[in-house]
């Protein structure tokens, strides 16, 4: 999974935790793909050798996404607020419906932690934290976060990350294991480990941001709300703690997003509806 650039923890400790989790999802996808079976393993190995980015079989990504989801839920716990979770899914599905992958296996969850973060997991599993929801002020801001994470999934950023040297070594080892179940566990663990130490490149984060803008516009949300959220997060970062080194500097990032928004763009923000579900 990836801890997107949306990370904005209030303490150094939470930043460190977020750094561990950020890339977890996407990288794990590739790794697990290798473990799941011959085809996926070949694909991942080929990618690791610098070949073309291979299309992961969605049926391979799904169990990996579920495994990573189980690990995340075990670490943080999932919100038991079904109305809130349902609402986040409705917003996420609205964004996904205007993407080039509306028929993906999209599942959205809320992690029961005050850390401020969001994760794009393998196979379309996307999570954001209760702490991040507390920072968000309207539905358009929430849509911005989800659009950013959806863009990471669609861009298969994790697949590209796995091309790193550590990933190569680990995948070869995993694909040589005898038992498929043991391979899966090994690769899932590897994916989590790689993700917890890595992170997306600034280019990947920047692209996810800029890809989020047309998604928001197509879905009828005001993309300026996403900018406002990032500005709020930047302000908190400035007064509270550090900035994740793997992510673009806040000001640059915000400027790039603003440059993608056509002048005069408007859209829905829906603060009342967001408040009904998220501000209890």
């Amino acid at each position: 999974m990836k801890g997107s650039a949306i990370n904005m923890t209030t303490t150094v400790k939470t930043l460190a935790i977020a750094a561990l989790l950020l890339p977890l999802g996407c990288k794990a996808v590739e790794a697990v793909g290798g473990a799941i079976g011959g085809p996926a393993g070949h694909a991942v190995k080929a990618a690791a050798k610098g070949g073309d980015a291979l299309q992961m079989n969605e049926k391979d990504e799904k169990p990996l996404g579920e495994a990573v989801s189980v690990a995340l839920a075990d670490r943080y716990g999932l919100s038991q607020d079904q109305q809130l979770t349902r609402y986040v899914n409705l917003v996420g599905l609205t964004i996904a419906s205007v993407s080039n992958k509306p028929d993906g296996n999209w599942v959205f969850g809320v992690l029961d932690t005050q850390d401020v973060n969001a994760f794009a997991g393998p196979g379309g599993y996307i999570y954001l934290t209760r702490g991040l929801l507390d920072l968000i002020q309207n539905e358009a801001e929430l849509a911005g976060v989800l659009a950013h994470e959806i863009a990471h999934v669609i861009n298969k950023d994790g697949l590209h990350q796995v091309k790193g040297a550590k990933g190569k070594a680990a995948l070869v080892e995993a694909t040589q294991a005898d038992e498929r179940a043991a391979q899966f566990t090994q690769v899932a663990d590897l994916g989590v480990d790689v993700i917890t130490r890595g992170g997306y490149s600034q280019a990947q984060e920047g692209k996810a941001d800029t890809d989020a803008v047309p998604l928001l516009i197509a879905a009828g949300y005001n993309p300026n709300a996403y900018v406002a959220l990032l500005q709020r997060m930047q302000s908190r970062q400035s007064s509270g703690g550090g900035v994740m080194s793997t992510h673009p500097a806040g000001a640059d990032r915000i400027q790039r997003i603003q440059a993608k928004i056509p002048p005069g763009t408007k859209g829905q923000t829906l603060p009342e509806r967001f408040g009904r579900y998220a501000k209890k």
Binding site: K59, A67, V70, G77, L78, N105, G109
Partner: protein, 164 residues
Amino acid sequence: MKPLIKQLALGAIAISLASAAWAEDVWTKTNATPVRAGKGALHKEVDSVKQGTKLTVLAREGKWLKVSYDKNGKPVEGYVFEGSISNTRVGGDLAGALGGRTDTADPSASAAARGLEPQADQYAASKNMDPKVIDRLIELRNSITPEEWEKFTNEGKVGPAAQQ
């Protein structure tokens, strides 16, 4: 009468040719392409077809195609997303070619009906983690109906409602 018969025959041929020309075939370019009961991701997945499956287009409705195809000698109809299909023939399933598993279509094996994949269950068990929390999350997501989502988007004037 002969000219009339001749005209009718020519007309029938013309209609036949027109129908043949109109029938459009496409191929699935992704594995486990969902075939749904309606044009939208929230509609029930009635089938799942593997990469390279030939489908006949019955109608194009926005970004969704109503298609038909043969499955075990029986015709199946449903909707697929345009991003999942190609207008040119797509080669065989990579997984199958490499000796891996195939994605046999089985409506009963849809995500909504199945819960977590066995690998994920085994992973959770090996880590002494509870997979049911994710199972419940998936169930919650799958319980969202097209009608509920349509009401949600109409109320907020977002998604499809924003484009009208």
